[in-house]
């Protein structure tokens, strides 16, 4: 862990990624402290200051009802990260378990589980999430549900392939010959050998979940106002381009930096942990 961090910081590109990720995470955690207008995360209206370009008081300008954009972006990070963490916290255990069981037990179990996974994988992710959101109410919880439903199959496929390879290793045979149970062999022998690949994919995916969630709310299907969300901020401002450029550029840049940061770290982790899958 410590060694990994040292290597991460030694490479300028991955160090930049760590810096971006740290900035995003810290600003989300410390939003209440660093933000000039904490109350602007909700339904506040200040028509005296609406649609102002960046200034000393509002470093990223104000939106159409006069709220400080910088404050809203920082709070949006909080929502996006929360969404990403919750989605992965649900999707990863499901996907990992499906992949482990299918890959280790094989036979009919493998057939059923992996065909089910294929069905989910065959639907374009955004379309699947949109159709779920279309049926359900567009709330934050349902947004998480929709993104989770499209996310677990990727982990099932990844862990399935890893398990298939690990199953041939001698230590798995040794544990079986010793009489260890199937659950033990799957979760205590095979799973630890899949962890580097899973961690790498999770890091990359945190960026992608933020991107997908933003895409959904850009289409009006995600987080609903007045809760700040990067995707809907970009959508709201798009009509006023190019004159009120700050309405779209700063939230867009915020998405870019977060996704870019998680990608840089994820790519670096893949090399360090040797999880090339």
């Amino acid at each position: 862990m410590k060694r990994t961090l040292v290597i991460l910081l030694r490479n300028p590109l991955s160090a930049f990624g760590v810096l971006l990720v740290a900035t995003v995470v810290l600003s989300a955690l410390l939003a209440d402290v660093i933000v000039p207008f904490p109350e602007h995360r909700g339904a506040v209206v200040d028509f005296a200051n609406f649609n102002q370009p960046p200034s000393a008081q509002h470093p990223m300008g104000t939106d159409l009802v006069g709220r400080d954009l910088f404050s809203r972006i920082v709070y949006a990070y909080r929502i996006s990260l929360l969404l990403g963490v919750v989605v992965l916290a649900i999707a990863v255990p499901i996907g990992v378990t499906v992949g482990l069981v299918a890959g280790y037990l094989g036979g009919r179990v493998e057939y059923v589980l992996m065909r089910l996974t294929d069905v989910f994988l065959s639907i374009p992710p955004l379309v699947l999430a949109m159709s779920i959101m279309g049926v359900l109410e567009p709330t934050l919880i349902n947004g998480m549900l929709a993104v989770t439903a499209m996310w677990w199959p990727w982990y099932a496929r990844l862990v399935y392939n890893l398990t298939r390879a690990e199953r041939e290793e001698g230590y798995v045979l040794a544990a079986e010959v010793l009489g260890a149970g199937r659950v033990w062999v799957m979760f205590r022998e095979i799973l630890p050998n899949c962890v580097p690949s899973i961690v790498t994919k999770m890091t990359l995916d945190l960026g992608f979940v933020i991107l997908i969630a933003s895409s959904l709310s850009f289409l009006g299907l995600g987080v609903q106002p007045p809760t700040p969300d990067l995707g809907s901020m970009v959508a709201d401002g798009a009509t006023y381009l190019p004159d009120s450029w700050w309405l779209t550029v700063f939230p867009g840049l915020a998405i870019l930096l977060a996704v870019f940061g998680f990608n840089l770290v994820g790519d670096a982790l893949r090399e360090i942990l040797g999880a090339d899958q």
Binding site: Y171, A174, V177, L178, G179, E189, P192
Partner: protein
Amino acid sequence: MATPFLSIEGVRRVFGSGAGEVVALDGVSLQVARGECLAVVGESGSGKTTLANLILGIYPPSAGRIMLDGAELPARRRIEHRRAIQLVQQNPLSALNPRRSVGASLRLALDVHAIGPRAGRDAHVRRLLEEVGLPGEFARRAPAALSGGQRQRVAIARALACEAPLLVLDEPTSALDVLVQARVLRLLDDLRRQRGLTYVFITHDLSVVRNVADRVAVFERGRLLETGPVAQLFAAPAHAYTRSLIAAVPVVTPEEDALRARIAQGGPAS
């Protein structure tokens, strides 16, 4: 032989079905007495590893039965059968989980079979390591910090951990350096004598056979060609195939011996 410890009776094993059917073993019957070391030799594809997997219960025989100490082993092995038959694999690099310490790998055997009091198992692990000639503090190391020979010793310690009377040794020395090979063979031989273990020793190396085995079973393409005491088989092989296997062993002639002695003393080779 009164009651053989391990008895294989008319065993056949087929893989696949229809046109892709492969008969890996056919009509194999053989017995191993308690405390005996039976060497199983043959080229790759002769069915040696299939035989090992059948004994270990990795998969059941298509026909025939396998008896241990007078009782038939079921297709689905129970925990006491697992405890009775253990394995040392060919490749020491993959036999230990790279993500777990050596001690954790050994402890698994003690935990699965509830051997000894829970609190004493870490000490037991260290004792096991010492029994195979490794320092007890190796328990904390990762397998990657051990050499091939050391890992193979750990694998042997794991096989001993659950006090199995029967060990299947699947080419346990063929992935090791020559010097390490000799030491591991010596260790296996000593353990067998001290503990009265029974070995099914799979190998393709006839010089190993001559050193450690009591009897030899020669396999060719899934069939048991002949069995017999080592000395008899080397002196009077019944089958042409056995003769060709023996002929393939590099023999040290007196001339060659003298040559080696000169080289060892630093003299000219010719």
